[in-house]
């Protein structure tokens, strides 16, 4: 394989890119940054090992997810993707609390409305010219 058709992984590692290169389908030469992220965080041999252990039809998704995780770890070296997970968990709690609060307000309004309607009904009942012998 000529130099110009090496995948991003082999280019970065300065080696020949064989026909059956495990990484080539998932780390094309036109996106070198994607490989640099995964290489920095997981290491080329770890990535190759992990992909080799998967059926071919799942390797694409796995490589994408590892690239995402590596990117998140580069962006946030302390928490990585766990930071995002935590933020989403916090958001969920906040939105749930907001929903509970609004549902509570709706319940109060509905109760007040019912009370108001009952009051109006009673008022109209007792304001007629009916003559009751009490």
């Amino acid at each position: 394989m000529s130099n110009s058709s090496r995948c991003a992984a082999c280019k970065s590692l300065r080696r020949k890119c064989p026909q059956d290169c495990v990484l080539a389908p998932y780390f094309p030469s036109n996106n070198p940054q994607r490989f640099s992220w995964v290489h920095k965080i997981f290491g080329a041999s770890n990535i190759a090992k992990m992909l080799q252990q998967l059926p071919v039809e799942l390797r694409g998704e796995a490589a994408d997810c590892m690239a995402m995780e590596a990117y998140l770890r580069v962006e946030n070296p302390v928490y990585g993707s766990v930071g995002i997970i935590y933020q989403y968990q916090q958001q969920i709690i906040e939105v749930q609390n907001e929903i509970i609060k609004i549902n509570g307000e709706i319940a109060v309004y509905n109760a007040l409305l019912q009370h108001q309607q009952l009051q109006q009904h009673q008022d109209s009942f007792f304001s007629t010219d009916n003559d009751f012998n009490l």
């Binding site: 389908p25 290491g43 990585g80």
Partner: protein, 162 residues
């Protein structure tokens, strides 16, 4: 961390555990599995490099998150942590819809009430407006991770095999 007993990392790597071993504070010898899983996914030298680049007071948190990620990847070798992110994104979307429905219902009640009813402080439902508590620091690309083609282009190769 005893005087002469090697930490879990040095035990696994079969080397002498130096006094200033970078792993020792975070990988005690009584929990060999913790280092084993991090080494399996990230590699000891990568972990060492990552820790060295961090100030000391952040290293414990970094190790905890690395252990979490490594565990997630071993449990789910395809999606790892990203599976959890995707799941939580969907949950947030569903809750956003529920919130919008509740807010719309509240608005209807307000509009139906006569002036004697107290008017609560509630923002009007705007179809283009996400509730402000959701417009936090979370970058837009993560909110649309599962479907945004812009994100996929950045992270994912063009020759994806699926």
């Amino acid at each position: 961390m005893g005087g002469n007993s090697p930490c879990a990392s040095c035990k696994l790597l079969r080397r002498r555990c130096a006094k200033d071993c970078i792993f020792a504070p975070y990988f005690p010898s009584d929990d060999p599995h913790k280092f084993a899983i991090v080494h399996k996914v990230f590699g000891a030298s990568n972990v060492s490099k990552m820790l060295q680049e961090l100030p000391v007071h952040q290293r414990a948190d970094a190790v905890s998150s690395l252990v979490y990620e490594a565990n997630a990847r071993v449990r789910d070798p395809v999606y790892g942590c990203v599976g959890a992110i995707s799941f939580l994104q969907n949950q947030v979307s569903q809750l956003q819809m529920q919130l919008a429905v509740a807010q719309a219902e509240m608005l209807c009640i307000q509009m139906q009430q006569d002036p004697i009813m107290p008017t609560p402080q509630i923002e009007e439902v705007d179809p283009d407006h996400k509730p402000s508590l959701l417009q936090n620091n979370l970058p837009h690309q993560y909110l649309n991770f599962a479907s945004s083609s812009n994100v996929r282009e950045s992270f994912f190769g063009h020759d994806m095999v699926s």
